[in-house]
């Protein structure tokens, strides 16, 4: 066990997978000598060379499409999108191609690839370096969508993603790259794609979150435990697609109160699906309105300091929402 940051765990996962399997290669913008703009691929170019760590042209569509073509030809591409904000040029390739290849070929051709992208706000990135994009991709059966919130999970889930025979969208909360630290086992282990994780056990309110917001929700849960004696259960969803309905409902059965937290804008963000599941299958257990705490419905996270803070969800806002709901 070693303590490391979220991004170090990600680098280590890639390093070990590259060493384990020659079919694994990395492509993306500046992933080579530069080691990625966030340094996620730092040192890998020196270790594995230009054949396996491939600087791509500045063209996301092609990064994903080349990955698809290489994956059907038996390789295991890890495609880095520099910022999740810049995944949109590749949207057609993800929607029409990666997500549908296995189904449309009646199970003949599969696309074992990982698309990694740092996402999320609070880093003075303005509209185009702060986006949450997971909502779009969770509407696409055929894809898996994974968002880790701890270094342990980041390494284990990324390894599972590399070995998965399906296309996996792996979104990384970039504000937590260096801010989130934790113990990571040495060497090989995986965390399965699918099951959510109970980050904190509680009985009063279920807080559903992922990524940076799962990290914040855990902090907020401690805050309200201390200040108000509220026992909030934090469900770190980790895998957004396929949805872990069972974990979502199991926690709700205990608490009857749900707060769904995401940093994306509210309307049609991923929390809508969690709320919809609860509104149907959780009806019998429902003791309060199902609440969503999310960004406002504006086109992006503003750059300027106060506007950014206004937009972003933080532990205090979460704690307040938990208190509110607990008091309902």
């Amino acid at each position: 066990m070693a303590e490391m940051t979220l991004i170090q765990a990600i680098t280590q996962a890639m390093d070990e997978e590259l060493a384990r399997d020659k079919r694994v290669f990395i492509t993306g913008e500046d992933v080579g000598p530069r080691g990625g703009v966030f340094r996620a691929t730092m040192g890998l170019f020196d270790k594995y060379g230009a054949d396996r760590i491939v600087d791509s042209p500045l063209a996301e569509l092609s990064i994903v499409a080349i990955g698809i073509g290489a994956a059907v030809a038996g390789l295991r591409p890890i495609c880095e999108i520099q910022f999740a904000d810049f995944i949109h040029p590749a949207f057609n390739q993800i929607v029409s191609e990666a997500s549908k290849m296995y189904y449309r070929s009646n199970g003949q051709w599969n696309v074992p690839m990982v698309i990694r992208a740092p996402y999320g706000g609070g880093i003075s990135g303005g509209l185009y370096h702060s986006q949450s994009v997971e909502a779009f991709f969770t509407h696409l059966p055929g894809l898996k969508v994974v968002i880790p919130s701890t270094p342990h999970d980041a390494k284990g889930l990324l390894k599972s993603a590399v070995r998965d025979p399906n296309p996996v969208m792996f979104f990384e909360p970039k504000k937590g790259y260096r801010a989130i630290k934790g113990d990571v086992p040495e060497g090989d282990y995986t965390v399965p794609i699918g099951p959510a994780r109970i980050a904190r056990v509680g009985t009063d309110v279920s807080v559903y979150a992922y990524g940076m917001m799962a990290h914040y929700a855990t902090i907020a849960a401690e805050m309200v435990a201390q200040s108000d004696g509220i026992a909030a259960e934090v469900v770190d969803l980790r895998t957004l697609l396929p949805v872990d309905k069972e974990a979502i409902l199991n926690s709700f059965k205990k608490t009857g109160k749900a707060l769904i937290v995401y940093e994306d804008n509210l309307t049609m963000g991923y929390g809508a699906e969690v709320a919809a599941i609860l509104a149907n299958e959780g009806f019998e257990y429902m003791d309060a309105p199902v609440r969503r705490l999310a960004g406002p419905d504006v086109p992006g996270v503003p750059f300027s300091h106060d506007m950014q803070e206004f937009f972003m969800v933080n532990p205090h806002k979460i704690a307040d929402a938990i208190r509110d709901l607990a008091a309902y």
Partner: protein, 347 residues
Amino acid sequence: MAVKTQKAQQAPPVSPELQREMYWYMLLSRRLDERTWMLHRQGKIAFHISAIGHEAAQVGAAFAFNRGVDYAYPYYRDLAMCLVIGMTPLDFMLGVYGKEGEPSSGARQMPSHWSNKKLNIVSQSASVATQVPHAAGSAFAIKYRQKVGLQDPNDPTQPRLAIVCLGEGSTSQGEWHEGMNWAGVHQLPFICIVQNNHYAISVPFDQQSAVPNVADRAAAYGVKGVVVDGNDVLAMYHVTREAVERAYNGEGPTLIEAKTYRPVPHSSDDDDRSYRSREEVEEWKRKDPILRFQKVLTEAGLLTQADIDEMEARAKRIVDEAQKRAEETPYPPGHAALGDVYAPLES
């Protein structure tokens, strides 16, 4: 622009057997295609998109690479090419009827959206040009496997190139640009065949492009560009063969623009009278690639009327049989819609 126009007469000799085989596939494709139009008119099937007029371009190209081994990314018009690669008339008929056992997609896709893993025909969507960067990706994988020692570069049982087809209109898509660019930057074993039939549904090429040839654009990517008469099967075979040799020898990618024509509507949903004159269509019908090749072969003494009659009869039998078997086959059950969303984890 360094565009080379290749003429049939420059081609090295092609064996009489191969020439007859080419003729056979062109004919088989045509008869199957005509039958399918008829089935549509009879209201028996929902949709057909046709290879008529494109047979020389497709058959000439298909015979030039290692069929069933090299990665092929045909497009929806590539019936004749896919027959040469190894898909059967029954495979196709199961597709147009949407019947159980349809090999490309289990009848999930519309007809002519080819896929066959055993033949290394990679599954296609309907979103045009998406397959171009895929083919570059597969070509990248071939080169990668060779470089990192996962594959012997000269092993003929392994894919050594990726070949992709699309229409001229589809080259307007950004996907084409980005795919061509990878092929050029990495000098991949990649061949892009543009079947230029002058129209994208109704839109003529001068509304797609300010330059007269798609091949004029190849140089911008460091890709060799060739214009060829796509109605001349031997010319097509020859230029593709050259491109294949280049790819196998690590000499880089080639774009081949086959000038041809679609004398029928875009698909069974189209009516082409609104956008082109009957005279234009008639003029091109006189350049029909099958009639033309038949004349060449007959004049060279490689094909007799008896040969032709035999082939026609054989084609009819095969097409009849394919239609009959497809009609007798049931639809996949409704719940088959639920399968194959995720590939299972390997255990």
